[in-house]
Assembly symmetry: C2
Homo-oligomer: 318 residues x 2
């Protein structure tokens, strides 16, 4: 069932003890450059370094005792894997995580650090899905999909709600779009809690499937020609209808625009934001005319980028 | 006159409209590593990227109209120069900044960006002081010293007050020490607003003049054998007596310990902290036994380190 106003408010109360109320940062110098007033919601400071902690926590807290006994499972090479392993650890239940064998060691260590059990597979969607099916068959675990799951979307919606609670209604609110979990949750939260706020997504031009899906009216497959490695996912049948209904526009940005935006966030806000999470801010800087003089919320969705990669990205541009 | 409880509270009200109330971050994973509970006061998010915005703003707001008319002056190659230029710009008065000609272009641009007028000199303390004396003679401007100034110390004290207001009394509170403006302000604020809180300083081993000054009972000259380039200053005759009276201990750390601590802050808190500002956290990680199980405030005093330098520091170690 699509999350409603009350269920999102309840989700927020449900997960509050387990997540950070992340700070909202502002910057006079960035505002001057962008020509609008921005409120940066710092989910890069969230538990596990990304908003994913919200959805995973909400989903697991809504399971019944019989389900919990058998644990949870997902396939993910990214932040959702750690978020789910962490949520399972908090409730003292098992987490089975299917990861491509090519996933970075640091991500594997992160999952193991939370006591998650990793099942490696070939790095294809098919291998991931079949391995997950086997694991679930064997263990009876409940699958918690990274985004195509109502409880996960409901959890992600708490991020925009928290921002709107703190700063009041905005003219615009921007989130990145990959599979659409955060974006659909953001769009629902704005619709319920600040209907005057227009929700806009940022998407990498090298993986602009959501942009094309809005044009064609059906879910288009993702490509993967971008440094924004958290946004390579195709929309789901639960996220797409919400995005289609409630998201006003999708702005695409190049990798160069993403790196320039990362550098600005580094230099002016003194924070570390991963490429995927920088996309909405890059979209504001690209679409200045639209945002001129407006109050603009920008969700910085995660901060998991190691310093070596950051240095390489910056030096590739200068 | 040494700032008292009321004057610090008044300073806080005075500067509030012009500074950020910086967020306090916590991290379960860093707490686990350190064995204590840390509250990170993020002055790296402060205006101009450092706590210096507080002292400069307070000092200039306390000038009379006749003084303001003639402007303010200082010699500084660092964050105080920008902080003073910004404070002067806000009040619409002139700022004359003496900088060594070797100061980084980015710092000069920062000062000019706030409309400050730069006077370049040779990179010696003597040249800086004589050039400043000339500028003051010519302009009648009021000197605002970076740290050896009661109003500046009073302004810096608002940082610890703000932290204690938010999180309540702590067992320990750590600040870095260079010239001692932040440290003396921190020690006074703790003394007045949370006397049970022990104030400890972190200092680079390669410039441990404050450590040695506490041992010898007189101001010892600074050396400059450290990457913590904001802490190369010698204590002043106004800061030293306060530090001697109210600071419990100074912990020295190596450059290697500073870089390791910077990396932890980057990876776990997702924030950019300059080497000098990382010293107190490095001191906690070094002195774990002392802080075990305690509530520890850590002032992260600034974030002005460019990404190229950050990358070099990190790669030099790995």
């Amino acid at each position: 069932m699509i999350p409603d106003k009350q269920s999102i408010a309840e989700a927020h109360e449900r997960i509050k003890p387990y997540i950070h109320k992340t700070p909202v940062l502002t910057s006079a110098s960035l505002d001057e450059m962008a020509g609008c007033h921005m409120y940066f919601k710092c989910e890069n400071f969230q538990k596990v370094g990304a908003f994913k902690a919200r959805g995973a926590m909400n989903a697991i807290l809504k399971l019944g005792p019989e389900q919990l006994k058998k644990g949870v499972a997902t396939h993910s090479s990214g932040n959702h894997a750690q978020a789910l392993a962490r949520a399972a650890k908090i409730l003292g239940v098992k987490a089975y995580i299917v990861m491509p064998r090519t996933a970075p060691e640091i991500k594997k260590r992160g999952v193991k650090g939370y006591g998650g059990e990793i099942f490696e597979c070939e790095p294809t969607l098919q291998a991931r899905e079949s391995t997950l099916a086997e694991v679930i068959k064997k263990t009876g675990a409940t699958e918690i999909h990274p985004f195509n799951n109502d409880d996960v979307m409901e959890g992600q919606a708490t991020c925009a709600k928290e921002l709107l609670d703190e700063v009041g209604p905005l003219d615009f609110l921007l989130a990145p779009v990959g599979g659409g979990g955060l974006l659909s949750g953001t769009a629902l939260a704005a619709h319920y809690f600040a209907p005057q706020t227009a929700v806009i997504a940022g998407e990498p031009a090298g993986s602009d499937d959501a942009f094309r899906s809005l044009l064609s009216g059906k879910i288009e497959p993702a490509q993967s020609n971008t440094i924004a490695d958290g946004l390579l996912t195709t929309l789901g049948d639960k996220t797409f209808p919400i995005i289609r209904k409630y998201v006003k526009e999708i702005i695409t940005v190049s990798d160069d625009e993403i790196v320039s935006a990362m550098r600005l966030l580094y230099e002016r806000l003194k924070i570390v934001v991963e490429p995927s999470a920088t996309v909405p801010f890059a979209a504001v800087m690209k679409g200045k005319a639209k945002f001129a003089g407006k109050n603009v919320g920008v969700i910085l969705s995660g901060g998991n980028v190691d310093p070596e990669r950051l240095g390489k990205l910056f030096s590739s541009q200068s």
